[in-house]
Symmetry: C2
Subunit: 413 residues, 2 copies
């Protein structure tokens, strides 16, 4: 199956500069694919702090279990990510495969297995032959280089149609620090393939605890505000690594997420996470429209989020947008089923900035031709005002097309 | 758009006998369709009790509001149902249209407007021109007849591909009573059209309160256990009418749902509701497979229901079944995201009675050819054992095909 590059792919790919203390390499271990790389290794200098957020699935993959246990240590020397096999629902074999992968990487990199972080994406339920890494680990370590960002993003792709990278720089004390990110994920779960994976790398000297707090604050409005199909992966993983190498250039050591010197860094980190999250929505399986859903006037932000997700995950809303139909009746339905406070007679709805429904009825001034033109655009803004309170939130999603069914429903080849 | 009759339609349609005290009529009021009936009227003899369950949507239609207020009275003399227009999200116009419809029916039938029950299904957000009923109400009352069950079921169809009827009889004291049911609904919301509607009619002498208790007990494992797309309509309505006419034939008057004389009636009522609910799943938009999902070994029935619904509403599970792919990895994903207690390493999964995963790993004895053959059948049983407790439940759904997208996503004609 070839589905080409998403029409919503970013027009240009930013260049990612080196991050002091990080080296990258990729290889083809032959796990599932032919003629492409399927494993990436990142090596970190001693003293690198790590933080992360992992899937809330009750049936997580073996690498997720591995990372959850190792995050407590807060120290990282290596990251190994493979595509082609998710090492999920693989029982004791899976735990052994994760352990072996970490041991092989540790031996080659000269660190402890507990300082190696892991992520896997691909088929669920198939045993991962971690011994395949044995043949490539030495070459990966030997060939690791500060300038392999796009290669790394390519090696972790599954049904992604383009590699996802983002970068920002920030002033920290008297130094400039870099924040680079790479990600993959085309559905919350792609066909047979699991997962949204994202990795962030910085040379800022930040403790693991402060980095964790920053991630927690940022993930809710970036990665957690994106949905393709409402299906949560067994393997969703976001890890952030801070080498601290910028300290040599005069950056201060930061031990608190509230440190005022982090102001620019916080903005940069949020921008990187938000860009990667948006790129995932832009590469949603079969997507032809990027849809931003804004809900305001809810009783709380939490309530606004739930209503926005109810709209974003409604198959009827998503198919209507695929059909370029400003079907606000289905939006009313999705608001109504969210289980959150809503008053039909105060509800207003906009498509592409044009109000189509007002206070519980079709807007009398609604110009069907203008709305039809707005619905033809590749990016659709859908706004709902509840008129109850001051809670507001926003989520990103994409439309639901026949290609989603083709990608996920056609017979296995 | 013509999509033919669902391949899952029942092979034969049962004959529905008259229910003493009920007369039916249909007409073409020209609300939206050409060359078909779009309104049905049921007339009930004096003394008819009514009970019902209505959508939990926070944005219900005007007829739902009307019925909710009138159910308190517990008495019914007429039911008016139209297709083509849902009278939902129509503001004050909608309330006025519902009132006018009830007044027109009451005047023609010689009863009070508060004894008239209403349901509407069709486009959301378009004003319902209730004055259109003025021209047909007299003829409807004059032509009402005990033998119009299939006509009635046809008049309330929207995107349904076949009329949905069911019947049962039960011994009540020394008399035999009839329980007839009709329903419509092809998605929880069909394209532009709202709604699951179901109406049950019996000549048993049962008080409104007892009938309400019986409905509440039965609806959870019948209509509430069916999902097509997880989208809850603004208009879902189930009403039950008991004329009491069987009292003249010696049936005792029943004032408690726990009355032991109701034993057969309870079985019959459950059979009628279960049959109608299954027919709705069989007519799911674009459906090619009827899917029964059984979850056992959960910590409670409620937990089993939530896990079953998480599986049933997962686009990735539904597209896999459309592709005849026993993709248990996606079932693991759906169990994991349900948010209910689950232990990956105790989980077992069966497709078509064949165990494909056992205790958190692929079943070593799993015969791929046998499973492939099972997946080709039009009815798929998917069983999940959690191994935690004794909670079990079952839901019905259908697969997700390109036809669902075509029905709901193609440009409005």
């Amino acid at each position: 199956m070839s589905h080409g590059i998403s029409p919503l792919a970013p027009k240009s790919v930013p260049h990612l500069p080196p991050v002091a203390g990080v080296r990258l390499a990729t290889a083809a271990a032959g796990l599932r694919y032919r003629d492409r790389t399927d494993v990436m290794l990142a090596l970190f200098d001693a003293g690198t702090a790590v933080a992360g957020t992992l899937t809330r699935s009750k049936c997580p993959s073996a690498p997720v279990d591995w990372c959850r246990a190792r995050l407590r240590g807060g120290k990282a020397r290596a990251l190994v990510v493979n595509s082609g096999n998710a090492n999920a629902f693989t029982g004791k074999n899976g735990r052994d495969a994760a352990k072996l992968t970490a041991e092989l990487a540790a031996a080659a990199a000269g660190c402890k297995p507990g300082e190696v972080f892991l992520a896997s994406t691909g088929v669920i339920g198939e045993p991962l032959k971690a011994s395949a890494f044995d043949g490539v680990m030495g070459a990966l370590v030997a060939g690791a280089h500060p300038d392999r960002w796009l290669d790394a993003a390519r090696a972790i792709m599954t049904t992604d149609t383009f590699p996802k990278v983002a970068t920002a720089s920030a002033r920290l004390g008297s130094a400039s620090v870099i924040i680079n990110g790479i990600a993959k994920g085309a559905g919350m779960i792609a066909p047979d393939m699991a997962t949204m994976l994202a990795f962030v790398f910085t040379d800022a000297p930040i403790t693991a605890a402060a980095l964790q707090t920053l991630l927690n604050r940022n993930v809710d409005d970036t990665f957690n505000a994106v949905t393709v199909d409402g299906d949560t992966s067994t393997s969703d993983t976001l890890l952030a690594f801070a080498t601290g190498a910028a300290r040599a250039r005069g950056a201060p050591r930061i031990a608190s997420a509230s440190d005022p010197r982090l102001k620019q860094f916080r903005v940069g980190l949020n921008a990187v996470l938000a860009s990667l999250a948006e790129q995932i929505a832009r590469d949603g399986e079969g997507a032809r429209k990027l849809v931003e859903i804004k809900v305001e006037g809810a009783v709380s932000k939490r309530s606004a989020r739930r209503i926005a997700l109810s709209i974003a995950n409604s198959p009827l809303v998503k198919t209507a947008i695929a059909g370029e139909d400003a079907n606000w009746g289905r939006v009313v339905m999705a608001v109504g089923k969210a289980g959150e406070p809503a008053d039909r007679d105060r509800l207003s709805i906009w498509f592409g900035g044009i109000r189509v429904a007002h206070r519980g009825e079709r807007d009398p001034a609604y110009d069907e031709a203008a709305v039809a033109a707005a619905m033809k655009k590749p990016e659709i803004l859908l706004k709902v005002a509840l008129g109850l309170g001051r809670g507001r939130d926003r989520v990103l999603t994409c439309d639901l097309t026949k290609d989603y069914i083709a990608i996920n429903g056609d017979y296995r080849s």
